[in-house]
Protein backbone atom coordinates (compact mmCIF):
# COMPACT_ATOMS: atom_id res chain seq x y z
CA UNK A 1 0.00 0.00 0.00
CA UNK A 2 2.72 2.43 0.92
CA UNK A 3 4.71 1.43 -2.11
CA UNK A 4 1.88 2.10 -4.53
CA UNK A 5 0.29 4.74 -2.30
CA UNK A 6 -3.03 3.21 -3.21
CA UNK A 7 -5.88 2.30 -0.99
CA UNK A 8 -7.30 -1.09 -1.91
CA UNK A 9 -10.95 -2.10 -1.80
CA UNK A 10 -10.13 -4.12 1.30
CA UNK A 11 -8.63 -1.08 2.98
CA UNK A 12 -11.78 0.90 2.21
CA UNK A 13 -13.94 -1.74 3.80
CA UNK A 14 -11.71 -1.84 6.86
CA UNK A 15 -11.68 1.95 7.14
CA UNK A 16 -15.36 2.45 6.56
CA UNK A 17 -17.07 -0.65 7.87
CA UNK A 18 -15.39 -1.20 11.23
CA UNK A 19 -15.46 2.16 12.95
CA UNK A 20 -17.83 0.88 15.61
CA UNK A 21 -19.00 -2.41 17.13
CA UNK A 22 -15.47 -3.79 17.29
CA UNK A 23 -16.07 -7.39 18.43
CA UNK A 24 -15.82 -7.92 22.18
CA UNK A 25 -14.73 -11.52 21.96
CA UNK A 26 -11.38 -13.29 22.34
CA UNK A 27 -10.43 -13.14 18.66
CA UNK A 28 -11.98 -9.93 17.31
CA UNK A 29 -9.85 -9.78 14.17
CA UNK A 30 -10.85 -13.33 13.28
CA UNK A 31 -14.50 -12.22 13.41
CA UNK A 32 -13.77 -9.28 11.12
CA UNK A 33 -11.82 -11.60 8.83
CA UNK A 34 -14.80 -13.93 8.68
CA UNK A 35 -17.05 -11.04 7.55
CA UNK A 36 -14.55 -10.17 4.85
CA UNK A 37 -13.76 -13.70 3.79
CA UNK A 38 -10.02 -13.29 4.37
CA UNK A 39 -7.54 -14.48 6.98
CA UNK A 40 -7.16 -13.12 10.50
CA UNK A 41 -3.47 -12.41 9.86
CA UNK A 42 -4.36 -10.41 6.78
CA UNK A 43 -6.77 -8.19 8.71
CA UNK A 44 -4.17 -7.48 11.38
CA UNK A 45 -1.48 -6.82 8.80
CA UNK A 46 -3.64 -4.42 6.77
CA UNK A 47 -4.63 -2.48 9.87
CA UNK A 48 -1.00 -2.28 10.92
CA UNK A 49 -0.04 -0.92 7.50
CA UNK A 50 -2.90 1.58 7.51
CA UNK A 51 -1.77 2.75 10.93
CA UNK A 52 1.84 3.03 9.81
CA UNK A 53 0.73 5.01 6.76
CA UNK A 54 -1.11 7.40 9.07
CA UNK A 55 -4.57 6.64 7.67
CA UNK A 56 -5.67 4.98 10.88
CA UNK A 57 -5.05 6.73 14.16
CA UNK A 58 -5.75 3.59 16.20
CA UNK A 59 -8.12 0.71 16.62
CA UNK A 60 -9.74 1.33 19.93
CA UNK A 61 -12.29 3.17 21.99
CA UNK A 62 -13.56 6.71 21.56
CA UNK A 63 -14.53 8.20 24.90
CA UNK A 64 -17.33 10.73 25.24
CA UNK A 65 -16.08 14.10 26.44
CA UNK A 66 -16.27 14.96 30.13
CA UNK A 67 -17.23 11.53 31.41
CA UNK A 68 -14.02 9.78 32.36
CA UNK A 69 -11.98 12.92 32.67
CA UNK A 70 -12.47 16.50 31.60
CA UNK A 71 -11.55 18.22 28.39
CA UNK A 72 -11.69 21.61 26.85
CA UNK A 73 -11.22 23.29 23.51
CA UNK A 74 -8.77 26.14 23.87
CA UNK A 75 -7.48 28.80 21.52
CA UNK A 76 -4.66 31.28 21.31
CA UNK A 77 -4.10 34.30 19.10
CA UNK A 78 -0.44 33.88 18.23
CA UNK A 79 1.71 36.33 16.25
CA UNK A 80 2.44 34.53 12.95
CA UNK A 81 6.22 34.62 13.48
CA UNK A 82 5.85 32.80 16.81
CA UNK A 83 3.29 30.26 15.67
CA UNK A 84 5.56 27.27 15.12
CA UNK A 85 7.39 27.78 18.40
CA UNK A 86 4.14 28.09 20.38
CA UNK A 87 2.54 25.16 18.52
CA UNK A 88 5.52 22.96 19.36
CA UNK A 89 5.30 23.92 23.01
CA UNK A 90 1.59 23.01 23.08
CA UNK A 91 2.00 19.75 21.12
CA UNK A 92 4.67 18.58 23.56
CA UNK A 93 2.17 18.54 26.41
CA UNK A 94 0.77 15.06 27.12
CA UNK A 95 -2.63 16.58 27.96
CA UNK A 96 -3.00 17.92 24.40
CA UNK A 97 -4.36 15.52 21.78
CA UNK A 98 -5.37 17.81 18.92
CA UNK A 99 -3.55 20.94 17.90
CA UNK A 100 -4.45 22.80 14.71
CA UNK A 101 -3.60 26.02 13.00
CA UNK A 102 -6.80 27.64 11.75
CA UNK A 103 -7.61 30.64 9.59
CA UNK A 104 -8.67 33.19 12.19
CA UNK A 105 -7.38 35.84 14.58
CA UNK A 106 -7.45 32.99 17.10
CA UNK A 107 -5.14 30.90 14.94
CA UNK A 108 -4.08 28.03 17.21
CA UNK A 109 -6.76 25.64 18.49
CA UNK A 110 -6.12 22.67 20.73
CA UNK A 111 -8.02 20.11 22.76
CA UNK A 112 -6.68 19.27 26.19
CA UNK A 113 -7.87 16.48 28.48
CA UNK A 114 -7.03 15.63 32.07
CA UNK A 115 -8.31 13.48 34.91
CA UNK A 116 -9.95 16.50 36.56
CA UNK A 117 -10.60 20.21 36.14
CA UNK A 118 -7.89 21.32 38.57
CA UNK A 119 -5.27 19.48 36.53
CA UNK A 120 -6.62 21.04 33.33
CA UNK A 121 -6.56 24.52 34.89
CA UNK A 122 -2.91 24.11 35.82
CA UNK A 123 -2.08 23.10 32.25
CA UNK A 124 -3.87 26.13 30.79
CA UNK A 125 -2.23 28.43 33.33
CA UNK A 126 1.15 27.04 32.44
CA UNK A 127 0.49 27.60 28.74
CA UNK A 128 -0.56 31.14 29.48
CA UNK A 129 2.56 31.79 31.57
CA UNK A 130 4.97 30.22 29.14
CA UNK A 131 3.56 31.96 26.06
CA UNK A 132 2.47 35.23 27.61
CA UNK A 133 -0.82 34.78 25.78
CA UNK A 134 -4.38 34.71 26.98
CA UNK A 135 -5.98 31.28 26.66
CA UNK A 136 -9.55 31.09 25.41
CA UNK A 137 -11.01 28.20 27.41
CA UNK A 138 -14.21 26.79 25.87
CA UNK A 139 -15.30 23.58 27.62
CA UNK A 140 -18.21 21.71 26.13
CA UNK A 141 -21.62 22.47 27.59
CA UNK A 142 -23.75 20.13 25.51
CA UNK A 143 -23.08 17.51 22.83
CA UNK A 144 -25.67 17.45 20.05
CA UNK A 145 -23.93 14.96 17.84
CA UNK A 146 -24.41 11.23 17.81
CA UNK A 147 -21.11 9.70 16.84
CA UNK A 148 -21.62 7.08 14.18
CA UNK A 149 -18.04 7.24 13.04
CA UNK A 150 -16.90 9.04 9.96
CA UNK A 151 -18.63 8.03 6.75
CA UNK A 152 -16.17 8.06 3.91
CA UNK A 153 -17.41 8.72 0.42
CA UNK A 154 -15.21 6.98 -2.07
CA UNK A 155 -15.30 8.53 -5.48
Amino acid sequence: MRESNEITALDRTLLDGFQRDFPLEPRPFARIAECLGIGEDEVIERLRLLQEAGLVSRVGPVFPPNRIGVSTLAALAVEPERLEEVAALISALPEVNHNYEREHHFNLWFVATAPNRAHLDRVLEEISERTGLEVLDLPMIQDFHIDLGFRLQWT
Binding site: Q19, F22, R102, I141, Q142, F144
Partner: protein, 189 residues
Amino acid sequence: MDMKVYPNPLDCDASAPQIQSELDDPVQKALIKAIEGGLPLTARPYALIGERLGICEAEVIGRIQLLFDNDLIKRMGVVVRHGQLGYKANAMVVWDIPDERVGEIGRCFGRFPFVTLCYQRPRCLPQWRYNLFTMIHGRGHDEVRARIETMADHCALQDKQYEVLFSRRCFKQRGARYVSLDGEPGQSE
Protein backbone atom coordinates in the same frame (compact mmCIF):
# COMPACT_ATOMS: atom_id res chain seq x y z
CA MET B 1 -4.05 37.75 32.67
CA ASP B 2 -7.56 36.48 32.67
CA MET B 3 -7.49 32.76 33.32
CA LYS B 4 -11.06 32.60 34.50
CA VAL B 5 -12.60 29.17 34.57
CA TYR B 6 -16.05 29.09 33.09
CA PRO B 7 -18.70 27.17 34.94
CA ASN B 8 -19.41 24.00 33.08
CA PRO B 9 -22.88 22.65 33.74
CA LEU B 10 -21.79 19.18 32.75
CA ASP B 11 -19.34 18.95 35.61
CA CYS B 12 -22.27 17.81 37.75
CA ASP B 13 -22.88 14.97 35.33
CA ALA B 14 -19.24 13.95 35.26
CA SER B 15 -19.21 13.40 39.02
CA ALA B 16 -22.32 11.23 39.14
CA PRO B 17 -21.71 8.67 41.93
CA GLN B 18 -21.83 5.53 39.82
CA ILE B 19 -19.21 6.74 37.42
CA GLN B 20 -17.07 8.12 40.19
CA SER B 21 -17.02 4.81 42.03
CA GLU B 22 -16.17 2.98 38.86
CA LEU B 23 -13.18 5.20 38.23
CA ASP B 24 -12.08 4.81 41.82
CA ASP B 25 -11.54 1.17 40.94
CA PRO B 26 -7.81 0.95 40.19
CA VAL B 27 -8.24 -1.97 37.77
CA GLN B 28 -10.86 -0.11 35.72
CA LYS B 29 -8.57 2.90 35.66
CA ALA B 30 -5.60 0.80 34.57
CA LEU B 31 -7.76 -0.75 31.86
CA ILE B 32 -8.72 2.65 30.45
CA LYS B 33 -5.07 3.61 30.51
CA ALA B 34 -4.22 0.42 28.63
CA ILE B 35 -6.78 0.92 25.86
CA GLU B 36 -7.03 4.69 25.39
CA GLY B 37 -4.08 4.74 23.00
CA GLY B 38 -5.59 1.87 20.98
CA LEU B 39 -5.81 -1.90 21.24
CA PRO B 40 -2.75 -3.97 20.40
CA LEU B 41 -2.97 -5.28 16.82
CA THR B 42 -2.56 -8.91 17.68
CA ALA B 43 -4.81 -11.96 17.41
CA ARG B 44 -5.88 -11.87 21.06
CA PRO B 45 -5.69 -8.21 22.11
CA TYR B 46 -7.82 -8.62 25.23
CA ALA B 47 -5.66 -11.47 26.48
CA LEU B 48 -2.54 -9.35 25.99
CA ILE B 49 -4.07 -6.41 27.86
CA GLY B 50 -5.12 -8.81 30.62
CA GLU B 51 -1.60 -10.13 30.88
CA ARG B 52 -0.29 -6.61 31.38
CA LEU B 53 -2.92 -5.86 34.02
CA GLY B 54 -2.80 -9.22 35.76
CA ILE B 55 -6.41 -10.14 34.95
CA CYS B 56 -7.84 -12.73 32.61
CA GLU B 57 -9.09 -12.18 29.07
CA ALA B 58 -12.75 -12.64 30.02
CA GLU B 59 -12.44 -10.01 32.72
CA VAL B 60 -10.95 -7.52 30.25
CA ILE B 61 -13.87 -8.11 27.90
CA GLY B 62 -16.38 -7.84 30.75
CA ARG B 63 -14.86 -4.62 32.00
CA ILE B 64 -14.88 -3.03 28.53
CA GLN B 65 -18.54 -4.07 28.24
CA LEU B 66 -19.14 -2.33 31.56
CA LEU B 67 -17.63 0.87 30.19
CA PHE B 68 -20.07 0.63 27.27
CA ASP B 69 -22.99 -0.06 29.61
CA ASN B 70 -22.16 3.07 31.58
CA ASP B 71 -21.79 5.16 28.41
CA LEU B 72 -18.14 5.67 29.18
CA ILE B 73 -17.19 4.50 25.71
CA LYS B 74 -18.91 6.11 22.75
CA ARG B 75 -17.76 3.63 20.14
CA MET B 76 -14.92 1.21 19.58
CA GLY B 77 -13.30 0.39 16.28
CA VAL B 78 -11.13 1.83 13.57
CA VAL B 79 -10.44 5.53 14.17
CA VAL B 80 -9.52 7.14 10.86
CA ARG B 81 -7.51 10.24 10.18
CA HIS B 82 -9.78 11.95 7.66
CA GLY B 83 -7.15 14.59 6.83
CA GLN B 84 -5.11 11.79 5.26
CA LEU B 85 -8.05 10.44 3.30
CA GLY B 86 -8.74 13.24 0.90
CA TYR B 87 -10.90 15.24 3.31
CA LYS B 88 -8.53 18.14 3.15
CA ALA B 89 -10.96 20.84 4.12
CA ASN B 90 -11.75 20.42 7.77
CA ALA B 91 -13.65 23.45 8.90
CA MET B 92 -14.66 24.40 12.37
CA VAL B 93 -17.77 26.48 11.85
CA VAL B 94 -18.73 28.55 14.86
CA TRP B 95 -22.22 30.01 15.17
CA ASP B 96 -23.71 32.77 17.27
CA ILE B 97 -27.14 31.32 18.05
CA PRO B 98 -29.67 32.98 20.36
CA ASP B 99 -29.44 31.06 23.64
CA GLU B 100 -33.10 30.05 23.50
CA ARG B 101 -32.63 28.35 20.12
CA VAL B 102 -29.29 26.65 20.69
CA GLY B 103 -30.80 23.26 21.63
CA GLU B 104 -33.13 23.15 18.64
CA ILE B 105 -30.48 24.31 16.16
CA GLY B 106 -27.80 22.08 17.70
CA ARG B 107 -29.96 18.98 17.32
CA CYS B 108 -30.84 19.96 13.76
CA PHE B 109 -27.18 20.53 12.78
CA GLY B 110 -26.08 17.34 14.54
CA ARG B 111 -28.17 15.22 12.18
CA PHE B 112 -26.25 16.08 9.03
CA PRO B 113 -23.96 13.21 8.03
CA PHE B 114 -21.09 15.57 7.18
CA VAL B 115 -21.22 17.22 10.60
CA THR B 116 -18.81 15.20 12.71
CA LEU B 117 -19.01 17.25 15.92
CA CYS B 118 -21.68 19.58 17.24
CA TYR B 119 -21.12 21.15 20.65
CA GLN B 120 -22.50 24.03 22.62
CA ARG B 121 -19.65 25.91 24.28
CA PRO B 122 -19.61 29.08 26.39
CA ARG B 123 -19.30 32.50 24.85
CA CYS B 124 -16.39 34.49 26.17
CA LEU B 125 -17.25 38.12 25.60
CA PRO B 126 -15.88 40.38 24.33
CA GLN B 127 -13.28 38.17 22.60
CA TRP B 128 -15.57 35.32 21.64
CA ARG B 129 -19.29 35.51 20.81
CA TYR B 130 -19.93 32.08 19.28
CA ASN B 131 -21.77 29.41 21.27
CA LEU B 132 -22.31 26.53 18.82
CA PHE B 133 -19.37 24.65 17.28
CA THR B 134 -19.70 22.29 14.33
CA MET B 135 -16.95 20.36 12.60
CA ILE B 136 -17.64 20.00 8.91
CA HIS B 137 -15.59 17.90 6.57
CA GLY B 138 -15.53 18.28 2.85
CA ARG B 139 -13.23 17.65 -0.05
CA GLY B 140 -12.70 21.33 -0.70
CA HIS B 141 -13.57 24.78 0.60
CA ASP B 142 -16.45 25.13 -1.85
CA GLU B 143 -18.06 21.89 -0.73
CA VAL B 144 -17.76 22.93 2.90
CA ARG B 145 -19.29 26.35 2.20
CA ALA B 146 -22.18 24.79 0.27
CA ARG B 147 -22.83 22.48 3.20
CA ILE B 148 -22.92 25.39 5.62
CA GLU B 149 -25.60 27.05 3.49
CA THR B 150 -27.60 23.82 3.39
CA MET B 151 -27.46 23.54 7.17
CA ALA B 152 -28.54 27.12 7.80
CA ASP B 153 -31.42 26.88 5.31
CA HIS B 154 -32.62 23.47 6.40
CA CYS B 155 -32.63 24.45 10.07
CA ALA B 156 -34.44 27.74 9.36
CA LEU B 157 -31.65 29.89 10.65
CA GLN B 158 -32.46 33.33 9.26
CA ASP B 159 -29.80 35.38 10.99
CA LYS B 160 -26.67 33.59 9.85
CA GLN B 161 -24.04 34.73 12.29
CA TYR B 162 -21.14 32.39 11.79
CA GLU B 163 -17.46 32.18 10.98
CA VAL B 164 -15.60 29.42 9.14
CA LEU B 165 -12.22 28.45 10.56
CA PHE B 166 -10.55 26.25 8.00
CA SER B 167 -7.67 24.17 9.26
CA ARG B 168 -4.34 25.21 7.87
CA ARG B 169 -1.92 22.80 9.55
CA CYS B 170 -2.33 19.88 11.91
CA PHE B 171 0.40 19.94 14.54
CA LYS B 172 -0.93 17.02 16.55
CA GLN B 173 -3.76 14.51 16.37
CA ARG B 174 -4.15 11.47 18.54
CA GLY B 175 -6.65 9.96 20.95
CA ALA B 176 -7.27 11.68 24.26
CA ARG B 177 -5.39 10.51 27.32
CA TYR B 178 -7.64 10.74 30.31
CA VAL B 179 -5.81 8.68 32.86
CA SER B 180 -2.32 8.12 31.41
CA LEU B 181 -1.25 11.37 32.96
CA ASP B 182 0.57 10.39 36.05
CA GLY B 183 2.67 12.99 37.75
CA GLU B 184 2.56 16.71 37.33
CA PRO B 185 0.45 18.45 34.73
CA GLY B 186 2.11 19.70 31.62
CA GLN B 187 5.22 17.58 31.66
CA SER B 188 6.48 17.19 28.14
CA GLU B 189 6.05 13.87 26.40
